[in-house]
């Protein structure tokens, strides 16, 4: 299956990426190297999305840059997008020395879809304020949970694998739902899950 091939390609890419962490690095390079790589399914930012990012505020905030991809088999044509995602990790529960549960992550994202029809600045043939939103740049928010595990620690040069899931919506869906009691809430929900390899 084609999707599986892409998935494997991305996974190996991620493994190769983190492999470079294992070598001794100068402090400067160490500072620049991303703190993790992520691979996400769905969540409104792509069929599969590959991300790199950094953590801030004592590992409480993840800032992740994602590239999202939808193959033409799932859509009328291939869709590419990039997004910037902020995840606040509000609660951490150590389950054991090696396992950690993060039951309440809160985040939001900005999502850019590539292509001329997904404009950000209103094209010149419209009067100003003709449409109030930008199809090329949408935003949403989510809550989620994460389980950090030591799995594959001995096989990949990472401290372990984290599994996460998230449930959210986006501004344009919310704007549609407002005032429409007959539109089920489930219609505006975006679910997603993913894995993260931390350094």
């Amino acid at each position: 299956m084609l999707h599986f091939k892409y998935l494997m390609f991305l996974l190996f890419g991620m493994a190769a990426f983190t492999a470079s962490d294992a070598q001794t690095l100068s402090p400067k390079a160490d500072l620049l190297l991303p703190d993790y790589v992520k691979l996400q399914y769905a969540g409104g930012i792509g069929f599969m999305s590959a991300g790199v990012g950094y953590t801030f505020i004592k590992d409480r905030l993840d800032v992740t840059f994602f590239y999202g991809y939808i193959p033409a088999q799932l859509h009328t044509k291939t869709l590419h997008s990039v997004s910037l995602q902020f995840t606040a990790k509000l609660i951490k529960i150590p389950l054991s020395d090696k396992y950690q549960l993060l039951p309440f992550n809160f985040g939001w994202f900005i999502h850019h879809t590539m292509g001329n029809e997904y404009w950000i600045k209103l094209p010149a043939h419209y009067p100003s304020q003709y449409y109030w939103w930008s199809p090329g740049r949408t935003a949403g928010f989510f809550v989620g949970g994460e389980l950090k595990t030591p799995w594959l620690r001995s096989k990949v040069p990472a401290s372990g694998i984290a599994l996460y899931a998230r449930i959210g919506t986006r501004g344009l869906y919310l704007a549609t739902k407002v005032g429409n009691s007959t539109l089920p809430v489930s219609e505006i929900i975006e679910l997603g899950f993913g894995i993260a390899l931390y350094r």
Binding site: F47, S81, S96, Y99, G115, E117, W133, Y173
Partner: protein
């Protein structure tokens, strides 16, 4: 007392397995909730080629001397109102078919197309949807073509040719091709299979969103064969019957659905009777 930490330490393997199993079950249960993009066009058969299916249903309807059409339009994000419109029309046995005069997807999102059609598809009678300017934003044109079909289309019902014309000139940057005057002229050429014609569009010719360079050609084309009995449009949300061509062809401005008024038009012996019904 067993706290979560101790419990998890002891049962970590079980915890993970149960979580994974639960996750798999959840995945099965809510696979529809996994959203890839607001622009994903992934319509099933029931959400494809809707206009042609309606035309096919109309062909099998038995002939009467009166055609009764219920008009609404400009749904944008007024789905509760659209729901009530559908309820009202389903309780009215006079209606032959329904026409939506465009703007069913406020942001042009494929998902909004699906939402709007989830209401319209509850209609007991066939329904036809014209293309509106909002429906064309982003990849809305692709979504319309998959769900409803060609942007310009026509069909003959009881010797009247109903012509749905894409008049959203601004969405095509006033390229001189929208509306397609040559296609309209060809559709209005008298032929054996129809006597009169009705034009349905979203943006009216008097609007700033209609290509000003095509306005005169548009009027000339409509008037040429003296066979157009009415033009119905949306976009302006209010109701009005007016005569911009200074002759007998009425232009009917159809209420936006948020006004909770359906415009019911009867065609009897090529004469137009207009009635507005609250819902």
């Amino acid at each position: 007392m067993l706290n979560l930490k101790t419990y998890a330490k002891v049962h970590i393997r079980r915890f993970v397995i149960v979580t994974a199993a639960f996750g798999l079950l959840a995945f099965q249960a809510c696979s529809d909730l996994f959203d890839y993009s607001p622009y994903l066009i992934d319509f099933d058969e029931s959400n494809s080629n809707v206009n042609q299916k309606s035309i096919d249903k109309l062909k099998s309807k038995s002939a009467t001397d009166t055609i009764t059409i219920a008009f609404t339009g400009d749904t944008h994000n007024f789905f509760d109102e659209l729901n009530d419109f559908v309820g009202k029309i389903n309780s009215d046995s006079r209606i032959d078919f329904v026409v939506h005069v465009g703007d069913i997807a406020d942001f042009g999102l494929p998902k909004q197309y699906l939402w709007a059609n989830s209401y319209l598809s509850k209609l007991k009678v066939p329904y036809l949807v014209a293309i509106g300017n909002h429906d064309l934003v982003s990849n809305g044109k692709d979504a319309y073509e998959v769900m409803f079909g060609a942007l310009d289309f026509s069909f003959v019902y009881q010797h009247i040719r109903f012509i749905f014309l894409n008049t959203n000139s601004r969405e095509f940057a006033f390229n001189g091709q929208v509306p397609d005057i040559a296609w309209l002229a060809e559709r209005l050429q008298p032929s054996g299979d129809f006597d009169k014609a009705v034009i349905i569009c979203h943006v009216p010719s008097g609007d700033a969103d209609f290509d000003p360079n095509l306005k005169n050609d548009f009027y000339a084309t409509i008037g040429l064969n003296k066979n157009v009995i009415m033009l119905a449009h949306g976009h302006q949300h209010h109701h009005e019957v007016y005569f911009p061509m200074h002759d007998s062809i009425p232009f009917v401005n159809v209420y936006g659905v948020e006004h909770r008024m359906a415009t019911i038009i009867k065609i009897i012996n090529n004469q137009i009777l207009i009635d507005n019904v609250a819902f």
